[in-house]
Symmetry: D2
């Protein structure tokens, strides 16, 4: 459980995401990495009309993408660009109808092992106290010899 | 566990999806409902360049969306348009790197209760035997008085 | 999201658990409800030889039982004995090999709706900082007319 | 995806389980490995009064234990005793109230990689068609040098 500073800065991470996940940004989405710390990350999705479903809610796949990205950023902040961690599983619970506001994802890694990282993400409508979704995910970290 | 014919036909379901999930189709995605049966559904995603990540793989969010949609279609086939089932949870395991082929999702409902439906989805690269992803999801079915 | 005092006290909850889950206690297990608060609960399992597997670790089913019980206690603290909430799903991630110490489960409800409660549990080896397991679970709350 | 015969026979697996999981058997439980095949396993729990909760239902932890054991047996059937696979995550959905009959667990591995195995389990009340529970689980397989 490293408590050291992160391996990459926020802007290094954003540059890397645009390189490896161009399709995340292709719709003009504004996914912002707000902070990366030891075993943590905070992301924001600037919500626009295109995320909204009839009734004004934000789609499940959008919240899945945000969870997955937040976990990936937290792992990246710890291990750096040396290897490509891949999502192996993700469980998401949808809790409340989100407001028509930005979504803020707060991620915390629960484990960072040599081969497996596990973390949780709570997603909030910006400025509200009760989470709209909660996810736990698992990432496979490539063996050292493959990095 | 109803074994009756489905409440809606494939084309009624596709019309309804375009009405309630316009954003699913907005990128020109071709999500095809291939079949709906008692407690089952089969969907196809016609894969194009925009789903591919560097390395030729298909993104996790794309497979999440396909799983969620397949479960929704299977529920819709059973209960019809009387109420709007909402996803309450979804667990997805990513198993293999998909080929650069269409994805086929085979969904089976495990339970269709008065308030809760539970189902599983196996996703395959078209023509292959081993699943690339597997999901289980839970849907909340609105109470009769709300329909 | 109620912030009121709990519907039942710790000792009322323990009495009720012995009544409805006698088998939890039948092996002489010491499952202790340490605290119940608004949307929270803390439980302790006094670990003895019978929970240990070869190598000194604590079994997965023991940690599952503790998670399930912690979520149930948190729900019970909110809704009281009026209805019997039943577990509908539980996802558990095993993170580290537990020490040969008591297990402490810290539970927080993420949602308490009219029909569904969702919560998370982090399990720690007593006195340690990194969780040994993490669970999220869903409970179905019986309709008012059935209570 | 090996399609070869299993690495261990049913009786070799049962002997090994009694050696590594003595506590599973300590209550006089009758956990029977009925069959092991390529990527599959079938187990039976002979249900007795001690598994029953008030109302005649079988406890969640009992079904969790059966799922976990079925997945473990299926992995063991493929990789043999060379290493100790450990459960890293398990998601279980409880679908119906089980009958007061034996439980039968049918497990199928979805993936058997060098480092990770993933499988699903459907649990039935003996002789019935609709599953009472469904689980998916992930196992970490120790690196070759540790075997």
């Amino acid at each position: 459980m490293t408590e050291s500073a992160t391996a990459l800065t926020v802007s290094e991470i954003e540059d890397y995401l645009r390189e490896v996940f161009p399709q995340v940004y292709e719709n003009g989405d504004t996914w912002i990495v707000e902070a990366v710390g030891p075993m943590t990350a905070r992301l924001r999705l600037v919500v626009s009309d295109r995320h909204l479903r009839p009734g004004g809610t934000i789609s499940g796949p959008t919240m899945f993408t945000l969870s997955d990205l937040a976990l990936y950023v937290a792992v990246l902040g710890q291990i750096g660009k040396k290897g490509l961690a891949v999502t192996t599983s993700l469980t998401i619970n949808f809790l409340r109808k989100p407001s028509q506001r930005d979504l803020v994802a707060k991620c915390r890694l629960l484990k960072l092992g040599a081969r497996l990282a596990v973390g949780e993400v709570a997603i909030y409508s910006d400025g509200e106290n009760d989470p709209v979704a909660h996810a736990t995910g698992t990432y496979s970290i490539p063996p050292r010899e493959m990095r």
